[in-house]
Symmetry: D3
Subunit: 175 residues, 6 copies
């Protein structure tokens, strides 16, 4: 097999702002092994995340990776929740140049608390294919839907509330 530098390269334009006009107001551009074949077996990937003013990367997990993030532009309120039984929220306001770690598999989020300025982060993940599970989308927007019996009991609400949630348009913040 003939390998060239292009197998380890991606013209990713990670310096360019991305569209954040979606409902949650963020956009994740992930460079993983599907975009960059040279990452195969190497256990790492890289992402740029754009946040609109008051936009967020909503609560999600990476089933196969830890994330380390730094703020390139703006301010972010970030946090993760520890596993059962404590479910402690560890959260922090990050300014430009700060670094934060989201341990593998834990639910975490980033929120731009500023109403008139976008924010940008760069994040790396400890897998060439870390995966991402946006909690609200996976729970209420799965195809087919999870039974409303299951979700009503899990979330302690009426089935009508679940049905209404499942009827929303759940869009993905990865283009």
């Amino acid at each position: 097999m003939h390998v060239t530098a292009d197998d380890f390269f991606k013209a990713a334009e990670l310096d360019k702002p991305r569209n954040t006009k979606g409902k949650v107001g963020s956009n994740v551009t992930l460079i993983n092994v599907m975009q960059l074949a040279g990452l195969n077996t190497l256990g790492i990937s890289l992402a740029r995340i754009d946040y609109a003013p008051l936009g967020e990367n909503p609560p999600h997990t990476h089933p196969r990776g830890t994330e380390i993030l730094t703020v390139l532009e703006g301010t972010l309120y970030v946090g993760f929740v520890t596993s059962n039984p404590n479910n402690t929220l560890l959260a922090k306001v990050l300014n430009k140049g700060d670094v934060f770690v989201f341990p593998e598999g834990l639910i975490h989020f980033q929120f731009n608390p500023v109403h008139d300025m976008p924010a940008v982060a760069l994040a790396a993940l400890s897998s060439q294919n870390p995966g991402a599970i946006t909690i609200a989308n996976a729970v209420f927007g799965s195809k087919p839907p999870i039974s409303d019996d299951v979700l009503a009991k899990a979330f302690q609400v009426e089935k009508g509330t679940i049905d209404w949630l499942q009827a929303q348009f759940w869009e993905n913040n990865h283009n």
Copy 2:
């Protein structure tokens, strides 16, 4: 260090039904490295799960382990949701003796669809400390709470709905 057979043993009474009177109607009894020191470094743990009639083990993830489950008594409707962007629900009704796999880090659940019979499952996990994150509890019951700004946007509901959810009593289905 003097090691004895008791370091590899746990009188766990996994044959005994557990209390399933909590809100979700299930009870997980996990034997991990905290209960059984001999599991250290060995990458496996074992659990019994009891389900009341119409009880469930609500949507949750294991951040550090795959789960393989078999039904000992009754019937279970089980499923997991694949990661973004598809969020496909793969679900199945399991009868006694059937086996199902929940891959590492994915959101999954088990529900007893029978209104007059309990169910029991035995499950093994591929870590001596797999962790568990009950989605509703971690998202709406964290201490301190996640900002309702973050959750309202993530779940596409009013902040009042989030506040109401956060005011519920979120109990853990592990004794």
Copy 3:
């Protein structure tokens, strides 16, 4: 590739007693990646073991996995032997609901000491393909046989004894 719930499911009938009429009086029903393709890369497998009265799962090893076991029915006398130079036997009588761990690669066994009751165990292993090596079968029943010079010296017996052992019918307790 189109994946469905059936890729993660096995109608294994692990609730049903298996035939234990073989010489050793036990029967192992293992669900590994050959039976359940969805286990691929996930590092776990599950087995039911049936024991006749006074039956046993004879001394064996799993070359690629630790085993955690619980007793579903009856009583088991179980043990493993530590590696050289001590070769300490760590053994225990297990009753229903008890849990025991057999660390990766060590020689271990389970024996039903009761003359009038069968026993049943459920065991999980920390590999999707842990392998099993029944010591007596591998040593005396290999095809072709190991040289009786080698075995006579190893077991400190006459070659005739080895030849006699090698002439037995070595059956496998996995159907």
Copy 4:
């Protein structure tokens, strides 16, 4: 912590013949992390094995390592047995300079088939602490002994034969 070259060094005299007057006629000199602290976390160890004329390194396993071996002096008949259900013996006569692999956890042996010449091998193992289990010793020489009920059924012999075997003096071929 101050580290010096001596932490990565062992004056092991692996060039010197060792005493092979024991019952099995072999002697294993293993340099693992207990002898050479610098091996910690590095996943490898090294051994010299001496064989008397007609001596052997009797059937054994390494629970945590693969072995690669080359013959320094003499001739060796070597083999390993594959796992259940086939238990195929893969064996070969090795001359000076030949290389053979014994996969992790499988039962294997080396035998010097020459009646008037010693043999010497050098072997490496894929763990800083691979462990070794000499099958005959672990099965018949454990302390305390495995129940003769268990062993008689496993080896298809009378209990008296087991008791006689357990009464032998089981010596370890590692000094």
Copy 5:
């Protein structure tokens, strides 16, 4: 142990230019487990690299990690050399937003080819403690020095040349 958000946070000022006045004209600011304890066991770290005009991060390896890099400011000529026997140089000019991968353990470099503009990169590594070995420094600036007999033969030069190289002041481009 009481864990707080600060254990997963580092006020790293990765947005601020660093001093690049050293001989090689670059400066690496690495956030690994020594700076950020929460990275322990999580297998990832993050670095900012500043390059003066015509500055470089000279040929080096990371003994325990793959590196993925993106250009934040300016232009970089980057490359790595494959292992023996081919020693192929795979190189590329990267502009802002481009991504490149340096596989674990391979010799690689980044060079700012622009004479009047600095450059900045952000890089992630697949270990919480990847290590770095600057080739010239480790070979010619070790303490004590490697014998000039060894180096003269390796580099095909006179011993006087080696002695002269070893007499240079070898500074590290990590502050």
Copy 6:
């Protein structure tokens, strides 16, 4: 797939002296997974190294493996250099039968300091494909060459010196 003993065997003639007439005066004969298919996934390989009088295995790294070495014949002066920032040389003179460890990814060498006697070592590596990077060859003999701007600054010499080094014939000491 039908597997035979030959898949785990290599008639390697590791007992025979190899040609050491090359510039560096050494010759590495490596048995890895390309020579011996049975090593696949097993994480180990084996090498014989011949050294002419005053010959050396010049400074090199193994990007994917730790090395453990013993001297079969003669004397070796061996060493490795720790990573940045200390770059400490840990070195030792080894006699026949001594053992030394070179941790994964670190620059190391072996030199035969005796002017009238060859030396021979046997080394094992903790990967079925550890790779080797001879520093001088990879830095000055890559194809195409690394820019002399980059190397002149890295090694603190004139570009003319780099050009002269790059014009040498860089031969590999593996046949």
